[in-house]
């Protein structure tokens, strides 16, 4: 189950909406943060806090690409490969991440440091190619720049 603080947080979120159900997406975010990923326990916890059936929680959670259904590395690398990034070389960066860090799309590096998710457009097309590491945008990427960036995340 959730820690007391997480329950409080969800209850506060719930206050922003006329129904408990509307707090589902934010509550799943909280669960993801608390449990690291959406483990069965995470589903269970969301279900019992909001009174939403477990299958429903799972159905909703798996609809959205940003919820994680398996354990994740400490840092999440989200690299865009949509058209604007692709035509400016994003695919090469995918290869680079694989060769340099052993990171494959949807996978985790063996040291558990990074997970990689290939993204659809992340709204940084003017400064493509781009990626998010956790909550931070990095743009105009090159292989060298990626190395520099990832250095910061241990």
């Amino acid at each position: 189950m959730f820690r007391e603080t997480a329950i409080k947080e969800i209850e506060a979120i719930r206050e922003q909406y006329p129904t408990a159900r509307a707090a589902l997406l934010p509550a799943i975010y909280v669960a993801q943060r608390e449990f690291g990923w959406l483990s069965p326990e995470a589903y269970e916890s969301v279900s019992s806090v909001l009174g939403v059936p477990r299958a429903t929680v799972r159905g909703v959670a798996t609809f959205y690409a940003m919820y994680k259904h398996r354990p994740m590395g400490r840092h999440l690398v989200q690299l865009c490969t949509n058209v604007s990034c692709m035509i400016l070389g994003a695919e090469k960066l995918v290869d680079f991440l694989k060769n340099r860090y052993g990171l494959e799309a949807g996978g985790m590096s063996s040291d558990g440091r990074f997970s990689l998710v290939i993204m659809e457009c992340i709204g940084a097309c003017g400064t493509a190619p781009a990626m998010l590491v956790n909550n931070d945008f990095y743009e105009n990427l090159t292989e060298k720049y990626i190395e520099e960036i990832l250095e910061k995340y241990r």
Partner: protein, 860 residues
């Protein structure tokens, strides 16, 4: 009036409906897949696309509402092309395994492809592969056949309300999960099976055992399990039931069933069925002939009657038998034997509670239409979870919530937990205090309605202090206020009362309080009923104080009527209740009990006492379909025909009479037939040629059933008060016995669990239900588990004053900290075996709530 033109045909409509409905009303068929009349509109499959003039795009007929002057075309070349295109999309990932698929012959996809033709082989890529899943006890899933119409999900979420499945992932990765495989919230109702248009979800019970077109017969009848009385269609091949399905458009359950109704039929064909009469010889039950058995019973009964008087004999009737069986049973007891010692397990709650409530509000007060619950603006539930006891009624409560109604519960009802119930969970032994508090608060808020002086007089000295309640009952003051406000504002509230309320100490007082609440807010009452013909047996006079038509035997004018009808004198004193029978048997005053279709050893509390009583009898007859615990003790055992093998009628909890019809043939005699044979052997001739003739007699003698017949029943018109006259009378007194339970905080008390998947003796002979729920478990709260260092699956020894059992525990958040829940469904592991009881002086029901229980971990 709206006029639309479909395919050149002008159609006039009273109100705006969908184009699909408009077309159907004019006999124009538009193909559909995701649409289903029971489900919310979806518009996803795109098969029903039609052309509408002045609309630029094609429109889905299943979602578009007609507007005056609309011109619609449903079958043009363009549309046929579009539909072929959609079908092609559906088939690119479909295995096309029709020759192997059980759905073939009733598959909607197959039918459509046949109609529109197949575009062949343009898809060169790999098809999606999903292995057949057999992880559910009653379902087989072939998800590569799934077309993601989401009918099952909309059924499970929006109608059944279990929400056990959902579409997982999105787009082309969409699939439906987890059913019971994930042990989430599956209720095993199989309603998803009903709505699946293809062979993706099917019943496992008849897997590869027949093709739909090989069915020999289909019989519309009534479910044998609970008091809701759902209509079922029994499909048979070679005298074996292959499938039980619901039917759309039937009044009670309109296309829905619960797990018991749909999957619980296998007891009928069970190999353990009794086939021949058994007679105890030298202490052993030995096969015998009908002739010998009947002659023996007749002579032993006559002998006991001569020697000890008629009242040394008693009869136990059956809520599983038809009205006709029960009518003949009581007539046999009253006329051939000459006693009013007739009762049934309805005495464990339903009979007394109904009598009590009818005494206050008049006859028929508990016979309300089940579907009406969905239209209530508030439903108050107490004394048990309706979603497991009477599942289809439970669905109406969920529907009520979905339509914006409020659900108010006293105690926790697991099946309603997703329906935002306002829940008051009083601590142990304070339910009465809470109810008093509710009555007081409502009286203050709404004042006395003034229409029932007798009831109001009873409320005079009641003055619970609201302020004290939170402390006494352990509930939050603001929860209580919300509860009261909601109840007070309700315009059409309903009250649903389960047995736990009736079987608690002070139960009749509790019933009175709930009745008072109902009175103040002007609601209507539903009394949960666990057996298919519990109401019917009472209406047939299978009670120590009632004649057929629910007429009290103590009224001389009624007695006269029946004496004339049956051409005999009748005893004028009420007979023994089922519990009094056990006492009298133990004391030696009762010599013989005739049991029809009941298993008192198992179905009455305090097993040891019951056994002692029955052992003390000089003659015990049991007429049943299985060699039950009780039958094993009998001197003569008679094999009966089951529900599926005979004609007759059941009366459900709405007091609707419905036809039970023979679906399979089996050698043997109906219960009424056996009884008439014995009666005739005792010199009281009864020769009915069939059930309908008996029903004819019922309608002649019972003032309630006057002029009713099978034809009208079949039309669905046989709803109380039928055509006859109900029993009217004014209440001049309400008997109340205030007594309080003795439970203390910190101790554990045994509570009867009433699970969804079982129901007494029958269900344990139905393998599918046993597979769903295979063994007895003691359910405890997490706090109890922690206090006793127990975890899920640990074996405990559960002991009470009357005995001990060893069984596994399950930790369940829904259980109160003071309770150990144990069902009464598994041989040798029934909750009743650990229970003593006292009888409530008013309802004559047993109070079961004071049975303290001790759990000790067993180390193996």
């Amino acid at each position: 009036m709206i006029t639309v033109t479909i395919n050149g045909k002008e159609i006039k409509l009273e109100k705006a409906v969908t184009v699909l409905e408009a077309a159907r009303s004019a006999g124009i068929k538009i193909p559909t897949l995701c649409w289903h009349e029971q489900l919310e509109k979806y518009g996803g499959c795109r098969l029903c696309l039609v052309e509408v003039e002045k609309m630029p795009r094609l429109q889905t007929a299943c979602t578009l509402m007609v507007a005056d002057g609309m011109i619609i075309r449903t079958e043009t070349d363009t549309i046929a092309e579009v539909r072929r295109g959609v079908l092609e999309f559906l088939l690119i990932n479909h295995p096309l395994d029709c020759p192997y698929c059980d759905k073939a012959g009733e598959c909607e996809l197959q039918d459509l492809v046949e109609k529109y033709g197949l575009t062949k082989g343009r898809f060169r890529e790999q098809k999606r592969k999903v292995p057949e899943a057999l992880e559910d006890p009653v379902l087989v899933r072939n998800m590569e056949r799934c077309i993601v119409c989401t009918r099952c999900v909309r059924m499970c979420e929006g109608v059944q309300g279990a929400s056990a499945i959902s579409v997982i992932n999105r787009g082309g990765h969409s699939h439906i999960e987890p059913f019971s495989g994930g042990r989430f919230d599956c209720e095993y109702c199989g309603n998803c099976v009903s709505v699946c248009p293809v062979g993706a979800i099917m019943s496992r019970l008849h897997r590869h055992s027949y093709r739909p077109w090989q069915l020999g017969s289909e019989t519309k009848t009534v479910c044998p399990y609970c008091g809701v009385g759902c209509t079922v269609v029994v499909q048979v091949r070679d005298d074996i039931i292959k499938r039980v399905v619901p039917k759309l458009g039937t009044v009670v359950n309109n296309g829905l069933l619960c797990s018991r109704g749909r999957f619980g039929y296998e007891f009928v064909g069970n190999k353990e069925r009794l086939t021949t009469p058994l007679i105890r010889k030298n202490g052993l039950l030995e096969p015998s002939t009908w002739e010998e058995a009947i002659r023996l019973i007749a002579s032993r009964l006559s002998e006991i009657k001569d020697k000890h008087g008629s009242n040394a004999i008693a009869g136990i009737a059956s809520p599983r038998c038809t009205n006709e069986d029960n009518y003949v049973f009581q007539k046999f007891m009253r006329v051939a034997v000459g006693t009013n010692n007739i009762d049934s397990t309805a005495r464990t709650g339903f009979a007394g509670a109904q009598g009590f409530i009818e005494n206050i509000f008049g006859q028929g007060a508990t016979g309300n239409i089940i579907s009406g619950l969905a239209n209530s603006d508030a439903v108050f539930v107490i004394g048990g979870d309706p979603t497991t006891i009477n599942p289809i009624l439970g669905l109406q409560i969920r529907a009520c919530s979905r339509r914006g109604g409020n659900i108010l519960t006293v105690g926790h009802m697991k099946g309603l937990r997703y329906y935002t119930p306002l829940e008051l969970r009083p601590s142990v032994n304070t339910e009465i205090a809470l109810l008093e508090g509710i009555v007081s608060a409502l009286m203050k808020k709404k004042g006395p309605p003034g229409s029932h002086p007798v009831l109001e007089a009873r409320l005079k000295d009641l003055n619970a202090q609201e302020a004290d309640l939170p402390r006494i009952c352990g509930i939050q003051g603001k929860d209580f206020s919300r509860f009261i406000d909601t109840l007070a504002e309700a315009a059409t509230p309903s009250f649903v009362i389960g047995k736990d309320m009736i079987q608690s100490k002070g139960g009749s007082y509790g019933l009175f309080l709930v009745s008072a609440i109902n009175y103040i807010v002007n609601g209507r009452i539903y009394l949960l009923s666990e057996r298919a013909n519990e109401q019917g047996l009472l209406d047939m006079g299978c009670a120590p104080d009632l004649f057929p038509g629910y007429r009290p035997i103590t009224y001389p004018e009624f007695r006269k009527r029946y004496e004339n009808a049956w051409k005999t004198g009748l005893p004028d004193k009420p007979g023994l209740t089922i519990f009094e029978m056990m006492e009298a048997a133990k004391a030696g005053a009762l010599k013989c009990i005739y049991v029809m279709g009941e298993n008192p050893v198992f179905n009455l509390p305090h097993t040891k006492d019951v056994e002692a009583g029955l052992k003390n009898l000089s003659f015990l007859v049991v007429q049943d379909i299985f060699l039950t615990e009780t039958a094993k003790m009998a001197d003569v055992v008679l094999p009966a025909l089951s529900w599926a093998e005979k004609d007759g009628t059941f009366t459900n909890m709405e007091r609707r009479i419905q036809l039970v019809k023979k679906a399979v043939h089996r050698e043997g005699m109906e219960d009424w037939k056996i009884l008439s044979e014995i009666s005739s052997n005792m010199g009281v001739r009864m020769n009915y040629s069939d059930a309908e003739e008996i029903f004819g007699e019922i309608c002649r003698v019972s003032p309630l059933h006057r002029d009713l017949n099978y034809e009208e029943i079949e039309k669905g018109d046989a709803i109380y008060p039928y055509k006859g006259e109900p029993l009217r009378g004014s209440t001049d007194e309400i008997h109340i016995e205030k007594s309080a339970g003795r439970e203390e905080r910190g101790k554990l008390y045994l509570r009867v669990e009433r699970p969804l998947f079982h129901s007494g003796t029958l269900s344990r002979k139905a393998p599918a239900l046993v597979n769903i729920c295979p063994e007895a478990v003691a359910r405890i709260s997490p706090a109890t588990a922690a206090a006793l260092s127990l975890k899920d699956g640990d074996i405990v020894r559960a002991s009470s004053k009357t005995g001990a059992l060893e069984l596994p525990v399950a930790v369940d958040e829904a259980i109160d900290d003071s309770a150990v829940m144990l069902s009464n469904n598994f041989q040798g592991k029934g909750a009743f075996s650990l229970m003593e009881y006292e009888i409530d002086p008013v309802t004559k029901a047993p109070c079961l709530d004071s049975n303290q229980i001790i759990l000790e971990k067993v180390n193996r």
